[in-house]
Amino acid sequence: MKKSTIEPFVRNSDVEKTFTLRFLKENPSIDEKQNWIWDPEQPQILNIKTATFSGKNKADDYTNE
């Protein structure tokens, strides 16, 4: 049988180590109904989605490949 010489695109390997990810935590739980210690200008801020809230980062930084 002919042996393929093509390198697979992604090798499923557990060799790579990422020490940083040991410190990954769940999103902090924020009680949005608690009293605010300040007054935002526009109420839309209550609806803003951020990386930590939704994982679909819209409000703050988003770096790209």
Partner: protein, 322 residues
């Protein structure tokens, strides 16, 4: 015609497009996966050296020759773990080559805010931050990017107060929920089991005992500054991106002139017209540069403080062509 590039559902692009459209034609080229599935891209080059590039997406047609200026917040959607099949990756990288070629043509014609995609990507490099900041007279906390055990130990030997940061923010999962890696304080003991073999470089920085953060949005020669005080937030006092908004007052402040001059000098060196910059301020009123992001977001600052960032960005984009 003005072109905004990114996710068409991104409220930044939607609000900016609406604002520009009041005076001039503006369109969004969506770079999200689902939108690209329904997009036709045609670059055609003749033997005489002339070429055309036309993109059709959702009943709109974008002709390279008609674009006065392009502003990009997201050049292409992220390839996440679900897209790891050979076919999906081939599809993704074919789109990447095509779109990045289109962006390069815009840059060639001097039609791209921040010069080019390559310049944006270069400028968000954590490592490049250090020499440019130094040249501009801005301080950056002592930092180490390394996977070498001896270097990490040495770093802790000189600074016991250290934070762990990420070199590259990306969607991550914890306990089945999406999350992100926030900057956090870390101890030398946390590295007791560290072994450098097969490790990737990590990012350590001397902890700055800050009293508040500053988020700066630079648009041309204008520097808008928001003071973000997370000192009363138990969740966000190290990294305000925990977004404990009820306990994190945001206020617009006038940018101190000396800081403004240094920031504008930095942007000039990096050839950036638009960028968001994070700094923190310690109890001696020293400014410390933390991050530079040419794709930085700002809308939550606008909602929090009433800062007119969208309007100013819209005017800047239009005036840059005039």
């Amino acid at each position: 015609m003005f072109l905004l590039i990114g996710d068409h559902t991104d409220p930044h692009l939607q609000e900016l497009c609406t604002e520009i459209n009041q005076a001039q034609e503006c369109q969004i080229l969506s770079t999200e996966r689902d939108d690209l599935l329904d997009t036709q891209f045609s670059f055609f080059s003749k033997t005489d050296g002339t070429y055309s590039c036309i993109i059709s997406q959702s009943e709109k047609t974008i002709n390279l020759d008609n674009i006065d200026l392009a502003f990009c917040l997201s050049p292409l959607f992220r390839l996440d773990g679900k897209e790891q099949t050979q076919k999906a990756r081939f599809w993704y990288f074919s789109w990447k080559e095509s779109l990045y070629g289109f962006y390069a043509l815009l840059a060639l014609r001097n039609r791209f805010i921040n010069g080019s995609i390559e310049n944006c990507l270069r400028c968000q490099s954590k490592i490049l931050t250090f020499p440019f900041a130094h040249q501009a007279g801005l301080k950056v906390p002592k930092s180490l990017i390394s996977n070498a055990e001896s270097s990490i130990k040495d770093f802790f030997a000189h600074d016991s107060q250290v934070v762990l940061k990420t070199l590259h923010q990306m969607p991550l999962e914890s306990e089945g929920e999406m999350t992100m890696l926030l900057t956090q304080k870390i101890l030398e003991q946390d590295f007791s089991s560290y072994e450098e073999q097969d490790e990737s470089p990590l990012f350590l920085q001397k902890f700055i005992d800050k009293i508040y953060d500053l988020r700066l949005v630079v648009i041309g020669s204008e520097v808008m500054t928001c003071k973000i005080d997370a000192s009363k937030s138990l969740l966000g006092n190290v990294d305000y991106r925990a977004y404990d908004m009820p306990n994190t007052p945001h206020h617009y402040i006038e940018t101190p002139s000396e800081l403004k001059n240094k920031i504008l000098s930095l942007c000039k060196m990096m050839s950036l017209d638009y960028v968001s910059i994070d700094l923190c301020v310690d109890s001696t009123q020293e400014y410390w540069l933390l991050d530079i992001n040419p794709f930085g977001r700002y809308l939550w600052l606008e909602y929090a403080t009433g800062m007119q960032i969208t309007r100013k960005l819209s005017k800047f984009i239009q005036q840059k062509v005039d």
